[in-house]
Symmetry: C2
DNA sequence: GTTATTGCAAATGATTTGCACAAGG
DNA sequence: CCTTGTGCAAATCATTTGCAATAAC
């Protein structure tokens, strides 16, 4: 899987007359080292943690490249920075449920939702290309049991959902 | 309707011990002078066009107030600035269809979509608070007839959809 | 008179860019 | 070699904020 990603990137670079560099490979590896959402800044940390640092500028530039190569997708969780989703080759749809209590973000798919949206779009005279659903919700666990396993982690990472800053 | 909005704002201000100022009233009027989406910057222009200018800072501050008072809603169309939606008191749902050809943004509702999303959310153990659906689509009119009435207007306003800047 | 509000200009924070140097092919 | 890539620091750009002057109540 790892090698496959590398091959896809290489093919993309070749096709565009771009070069294979150590930085790009190192960023690719960092991007897919977990299959969680991340921000550019989080990725910078992850990359920097490995021996030599890569400049923030290069990280941003490579991220744009990976998006263009369709290895990565940009998503918008409603806060101030762009989030990247490394885990979408397997998941065609990109619906997000964001918990306003604990900050947890759940990615889910639902064929019914896709179908329905396609219908509505056609009815309006368009043809759907891609769709993203964002649901803000509250944590049942927190309400019912008075606690939620994700709450602490969310607080620690300072991940907020509203644009309240 | 106009007076009703003013009353709602006043009630909100009173409840919070805040003050009624000319700026706030003037911004309120500008906000609801059209029922189209707008950005903070567009609103600044609209306000400035009337005689005396109001500082950008005040516009931003008042916008935040109106959102808090639930007279206005923030939406995210996927570009770099926050968009405000003055037209949601009548429209409970906020689903957007964005045409990647002509830039047109259509706001629509669909009870089926709402219901379905609520089901999915519950199944995941959460309770939906609000949801927004964004569908990127292509213009049937452009494909079939080779032209689209919105295309020119969209180009003129420079309204782009991708984060390409 | 207090306390909230405004306008200005400076600060912020994520992202981008110009440029000189380094490195792929 | 020639062109693309990198790192740095400076530049953007929307938005926020500190502060002194001003206006509600």
């Amino acid at each position: 899987m790892e090698a496959q990603l590398k091959e896809r990137l290489d093919a993309f670079l070749r096709g565009k007359g771009l070069r294979r560099t150590e930085q790009r490979e190192r960023i690719l590896k960092a991007v897919f080292s977990k299959d969680e959402h991340f921000t550019a800044d989080e990725l910078c940390d992850r990359v920097r943690r490995s021996d030599s640092g890569i400049s923030r500028a290069t990280v941003y530039r490579t991220l744009a490249l990976l998006v263009e190569a369709e290895l990565l997708r940009e998503i918008d969780l409603g806060d101030q920075h762009t989030t990247y989703d490394p885990n979408f080759l397997e998941k065609p749809s990109h619906n997000h449920l964001v918990c306003i209590d604990c900050g947890k973000v759940i990615e889910f798919e639902d064929a019914h939702i896709d179908t329905l949206n396609d219908c509505v779009t056609r009815r309006l005279g368009f043809r759907a290309v891609k769709q993203s659903l964002r649901i803000e919700a509250t944590c049942e666990q927190l309400r019912k049991r008075g606690r939620c396993p994700n709450l602490i982690a969310a607080r620690l990472t300072g991940r907020r959902l509203r644009r309240k800053r």
